[in-house]
Amino acid sequence: MSAVGNFLKNTTTRRGVGAIVCFVIIWHIGAMIDDWTGVDVLGIGLVPPPGDVFAAFLGVIPKVGYWMSWVSSFSRVLAGFLVAMIIGIPFGLLLAVNRYFRGVFFPPFEILRPIPPLAWVPASLIFWPTNEMSIAFVTFLGAFFTIVINVLGGARSIDISYLRAAQSMGASQMDLFWKIVLPGTLPSIFTGAAVGMGITWEVVLAAEMISGGGTQGGGGLGFFIWNSYMGGSLEQIVVGMISIGIAGYICSSTIRKIGYFFMPWRRLF
């Protein structure tokens, strides 16, 4: 009891919990209003009430298949996202600091960038040998362009007086990069990562639905939802949706924590 008390002492936490409770209540009213009034009020009569969804949730928790969906979606997201970070950050920084590199690589980049990741799905299904690789590739694309454009923008908007000050104090080109440009770009890197992570989840889910997920249990959360739809289990669809919400929240709060660790000077805000 005292643990719960302590937990609720924090105003922000209390607000958050309150908001979620309110949301669930409204959801329940919305879902039940047809039953209560006897007429189809808002055309949302089919939405399962939170209680049913919770029951369905309890139903899938002991099932290995459900957790395998988590694992496979998560690993696809992480794979695509990490590769996008590893390639995207240096690529964006190079675009920012080297005029020639920018001259050569920026135009093709800008032509490819507006193509939505999902438009790549058919081509990559044909091109890559396995389903898994094509999903990973599409996820990578989703995060890559966002990360690069954020890194580039961030690095280019560093105040020139920092560079000038460092230069007049005797900093070399390498020093300028490591001490000024890179730390100055960190906030944009983390913004890019957070946005890119969101896109990655979107893309993974869609790709899993389109590709049918492949092997048994390896379908991921997208396939889980699709499967529930095919099986006509409305409650399970919602369980899948909420699972994605939770997964996305875990990812973005992890990125925030890492950002907090690497940017002590931003803890003041």
Partner: protein, 281 residues
């Protein structure tokens, strides 16, 4: 406590033996921006001397190219015509002998006050570790930031940031300090405190100081020499020798002499301001 005091005295006396001010000169300097067919001339044929160990204030109407002048003196930009020299040597780029304190703070936000101050010597690999940290701390204590060495710039007030920046410049032992409207944006109270503090520093170390401002009172209070610029394109209009005794204090601004300088400068600047106002209309 007493040992640190004696240490500070010994380093101070060492510094006094070193050359700590330089003669800076601009000869026939012109600078234009933009493509040749539509270039805008910002500075035109500027020749001015900044005597060693003196505080020269450059004052001119806003938008007249004062910052360009600073960039040329610092070596961030090169003149189209003419040259900038320090002790007769041509300026070809930025260097530690000429430190700039910028208009808006240029403290590096991701470094603490101490890291900012030790940045220069570390980058040049001159000094390291404890002795460098001690020297930096000593300087920070001197500018009144002894308790803020581990704070980030954004945790400091505007006036503190400027003082940290002064410390960061001074640790590089420049022979010329270039101040580009350094107290702009400070509230009136911190501004006058900073001016007094800055004068104290100057009167103590007698480096060559080039101070850019658009405030006439500030200019007269600080200056040995007052360089008044004219506008569009910018040229040197007049150089006034400000013959007020040092050390100075605020009361001197109300003396008859100061009033005379003020009127002289106002008349010149007002004419220039009217001219540029008419052009922009």
């Amino acid at each position: 406590m007493s040992s640190s005091k004696s240490a500070s005295k010994s380093t101070a006396s060492k510094k006094n033996k070193k050359l700590n001010s330089s003669q800076v000169e601009m000869k026939n300097v012109s600078k234009a921006y933009g493509e040749t067919w539509e270039s805008e001339e910002v500075l035109k044929n500027i020749s001015v001397e900044f005597p060693a160990g003196e505080l020269t204030v450059i004052v001119g109407p806003s938008g007249c190219g004062k910052s360009t002048l600073v960039n040329l003196l610092a070596g961030f930009e090169k003149p189209d015509v003419g040259e900038v020299t320090v002790d007769g040597k041509l300026v070809t780029g930025p260097a530690q002998d000429r430190m700039v304190v910028f208009q808006e703070t240029a403290l590096i936000p991701w470094q603490t006050t101490l890291e900012n101050v030790t940045f220069g010597p570390k980058m040049r690999g001159e000094k390291k570790g404890r002795s460098l940290d001690d020297e930096a701390k000593e300087l920070l204590v001197k500018v009144g930031l002894g308790e803020f060495i581990h704070k980030f710039p954004l945790q400091l007030s505007g006036g503190m940031q400027r003082r940290a920046e002064l410390a960061r410049a001074l640790i590089n032992e420049p022979t010329v300090m270039i101040m580009d409207e350094p107290f702009r944006g400070l509230d009136a109270m911190s501004r006058s405190l900073m001016q007094e503090f800055f004068l104290e520093l100057f009167e103590e170390n007698k480096k060559t100081n080039i101070f850019v401002t658009s405030e006439i009172d500030e200019a007269i209070f600080l200056a040995d020499n007052l360089v008044i610029l004219s506008n569009k394109p910018t040229t040197v209009q007049t150089v006034i020798k400000i013959d007020l005794p040092r050390p100075r204090n605020y009361k001197m601004l109300t003396s008859a002499k100061a009033f005379k300088y003020r009127k002289q400068a106002m008349d010149l600047l007002h004419g220039e301001a009217m001219k540029s106002f008419a052009i922009s209309k």
